[in-house]
């Protein structure tokens, strides 16, 4: 292990010679070794011990989530700490948090693709998987918070027993269309990207079960160049469609707040502020997952220090955008001259939820500043710590926006405070369990690096006869 690490560092000159660009895949690899490394994870008899430990915890938490959801539905929304006027609490905080996490995957796969950022190929697959699982967690919360979930279909424009149609002027309905579309398109994008790699796993399969399972999932892909031609065109089209889509989704989520009349929510800065926050939180989650995965599964040649460093820079940039939005919110509340608006912001920073506000500021604005230092950007432990902080901070951002505004509206006689119950706490923990359960199963059974895409950006093998 020691020798391998030293050798790897000496071959990756990112940190020593700034004039030379770090390679996208560390030298000493060829097409076959990439396949061996990535497929080896899926083909191994047993995953690493850490996988079992993580899966055990995650699966237990998922069971807790199931119990909490059953308890909620069988008893009623009263098991949560919601009240009037705080009718949104952990549920919508968690929804916005998870949808935000889900933005990094499509950003990496679509926007960085259009900008020809070739380094994306090492990380796009599992970032996309993370997106799918985060959006599943997100969709669950509005699903369960409505109370009578058996009437859920009323939100869709379907004929129903009331002979009524949904109100298309409601941002909550826009949200249904936005997140639903985002999930469907992300799923297509992820699966389509995986087809050639599943075919690789199929072609290496040694047992009948694997041949059939991966054979069906690969849809008979045979690497035909006539297929590749249409495939690449479809990929480009999907990237072009997903780029405005990813920006629209969190914009529309922010409309849930911005189109209301409540002080602290009714702000035009919300759409860009939410999108920047979503990318910030999403990249933090990608880093949080990438740092342990690349060392557990021996993928340090493919997910190189350069990848981590680039993501840290994105985290720094989006973190400062978020910090700027926090500052501008305060400025506008003073500049508008609206007393209700001014009060809400003073209350955020110094009222009963000040501890949540300052946790958010510390985690989201202060901690990413360490990434100005190259040494911090190349230290996986520091990266992991900051990414964890940012995840906490982004969760608190949504909590602060939702709860401080709702608990203190225009009329002091209707003020109230909100304390979550144990059911809400365990539901939040359970949603992490669900996320990690799905993610760990993905790591075990599907290729976690886009092999075909990584091979396409590797230098072509030299022609032995010609040289």
């Amino acid at each position: 292990m020691g020798v391998a690490t030293i050798d790897r560092v000496s071959r990756d000159n990112t940190s020593t010679d700034p004039k030379v660009r770090a390679p996208l895949v560390l030298p000493g690899n060829d097409y076959a070794s990439i396949t061996d490394k990535v497929c080896g994870i899926v083909e191994a008899q047993k995953p690493p011990k850490a996988w079992y430990l993580a899966f055990g915890i995650a699966a237990s938490l998922t069971a807790v989530l199931g119990a909490m959801v059953v308890y909620l539905i069988s008893t009623g929304v009263g098991v949560w700490g919601l009240n009037k006027p705080v009718s949104w609490g952990f549920d919508i905080t968690n929804f916005v948090f998870w949808v935000g996490i889900g933005h990094a995957g499509t950003l990496i796969s679509a926007i960085l693709y259009l900008f020809r950022q070739k380094w994306r190929t090492g990380i796009n697959r599992f970032a996309e998987a993370m997106t799918i699982f985060a959006v599943i967690c997100a969709l669950m919360f509005p699903g369960i918070h409505v109370g009578r979930i058996w009437l859920e279909y009323w939100i869709a424009p379907l004929p129903n027993q009331m002979n009524m149609w949904p109100n298309f002027r409601s941002p909550l309905l826009w949200d249904f269309f936005a997140v639903g579309t985002y999930f469907t398109v992300s799923l297509c994008f992820w699966y389509m990207g995986m087809i050639p790699d599943i075919a690789t796993v199929r072609d290496r399969a040694t047992t009948k079960v694997r041949q059939i399972a991966y054979g069906i999932a690969a849809l008979g892909w045979n690497g035909s160049n006539r297929h590749w031609h249409r495939y690449e065109r479809a990929y480009l089209l999907l990237a072009g469609l997903a780029t405005p889509l990813v920006l629209s989704v969190h914009s529309i989520v922010s409309f849930d707040f911005a189109t209301s009349m409540l002080p602290g929510w009714h702000a035009t800065i919300f759409p860009p502020y939410f999108v920047a926050g979503a990318i910030f939180g999403g990249f933090a989650m990608v880093l949080l997952l990438a740092v342990p995965c690349r060392s557990w599964f021996g993928l340090k040649d493919v997910i190189t220090p350069r990848h981590l460093e680039n993501m840290c820079k994105i985290l720094l940039a989006t973190g400062m955008m978020v910090g700027y939005a926090y500052a501008i919110e305060f400025f506008i509340s003073w500049y508008s001259g609206n007393p209700a608006e001014g009060f809400v912001f003073i209350n955020r920073a110094f009222g009963p939820y000040a501890w949540a506000y300052w946790t958010m500021v510390f985690c989201n604005v202060v901690t990413p500043q360490v990434f100005w230092s190259r040494r911090a950007r190349s230290n996986p432990l520091v990266i992991f710590g900051v990414a964890a902080c940012v995840n906490v901070g982004m969760w608190f951002e949504r909590f602060v926006i939702i709860v401080t505004t709702l608990s203190r509206d225009f009329l002091p006689s209707s003020w109230s405070s909100y304390t979550p119950t144990w059911v809400e706490g365990l539901t939040l923990a359970g949603s992490f369990g669900l996320f990690f359960t799905m993610f760990l199963l993905f790591l075990r059974f599907l290729p976690m690096v886009a092999m075909a895409e990584v091979k396409a950006i590797m230098p072509a093998p030299h022609d032995p006869e010609r040289r």
Binding site: Y31, A32, T35, P157, N163, W165, P166, N167, F168, R169, S170, L173, W174, F177, A178, G180, T181, T184, V185, C188, F189, Y191, P196, A199, T200, D203, R204, I216, L219, G220, W221, N222, G223, S224, N225, R226, H227, W228, H229, R230, Y231, E232, R233, A234, L237, L238, L241, A242, P244, L245, S248, I252, F255, M451, A452, E453, A456, A460, P461, D463
Partner: protein, 183 residues
């Protein structure tokens, strides 16, 4: 159905392997110039320049996607107009029944949804996938086509196909080996 021995089955075509993507691109250009029509290259990743060398005409997928996107836009606008302004007019804060600005988010999402699904399903349909059986899959060497091998396959039904002549062409183009593939 009992499987016949390999040599009794009909010849499907010839499979040539090349050492590098560069060799494959050059051979593809030569095979195209020789007038073959029923042939294909099989590679683990999309090889740069191969589309041009093979003379593949641009796919019509973008037009399908454009059409689907426009259907999405039109159907979303019609749906919202009919549901909220005609069939069940909802009075919401004094706004007009048919209010275009409020219809834009759902219209945008349905446009993207239909266009994206068409890009994905259209790509599969134009590629005639899923297709779980293919004569090439019988060949053990072909399994490396999804890992690190670069293949060129010419079908026996091609009008210019001649087992000996075609093999000579492929060998002359520096194929590392040429294998017969049975149906």
């Amino acid at each position: 159905m009992t499987a016949k021995p390999a040599d009794e089955r009909k010849l499907w075509g010839l499979l040539a392997e090349f050492a590098t993507p560069h060799d494959l691109v050059r051979a593809a250009a030569r095979v195209r110039d020789a007038g073959y029509t029923k042939w294909d290259a099989h590679t683990p990743f999309p090889v740069h320049g191969l589309d041009g060398a093979m003379g593949i005409r641009p796919t019509r997928l973008p037009y399908l996607v454009l059409g689907a996107g426009m259907i999405g836009t039109a159907s979303a606008l019609l749906m919202q107009w009919w549901m909220n302004a005609v069939d069940y007019p909802l009075i919401i804060s004094g706004k007009p029944f048919n209010s275009l600005p409020a219809d834009i988010p759902v219209t945008f999402e349905l446009t993207v949804l239909l266009a994206s699904l068409t890009a994905f399903i259209g790509m599969l349909a134009l590629n005639a996938l899923p297709r779980f059986h293919h004569p090439l899959f019988r060949n053990a060497a072909f399994r490396r086509a999804t890992t690190d091998a670069f293949f060129l396959a010419i079908e026996a039904t091609d009008p210019r196909f001649d087992p000996a002549e075609t093999e000579r062409l492929l060998v002359a183009e520096r194929a590392t080996r040429v294998l017969p593939v049975q149906e």
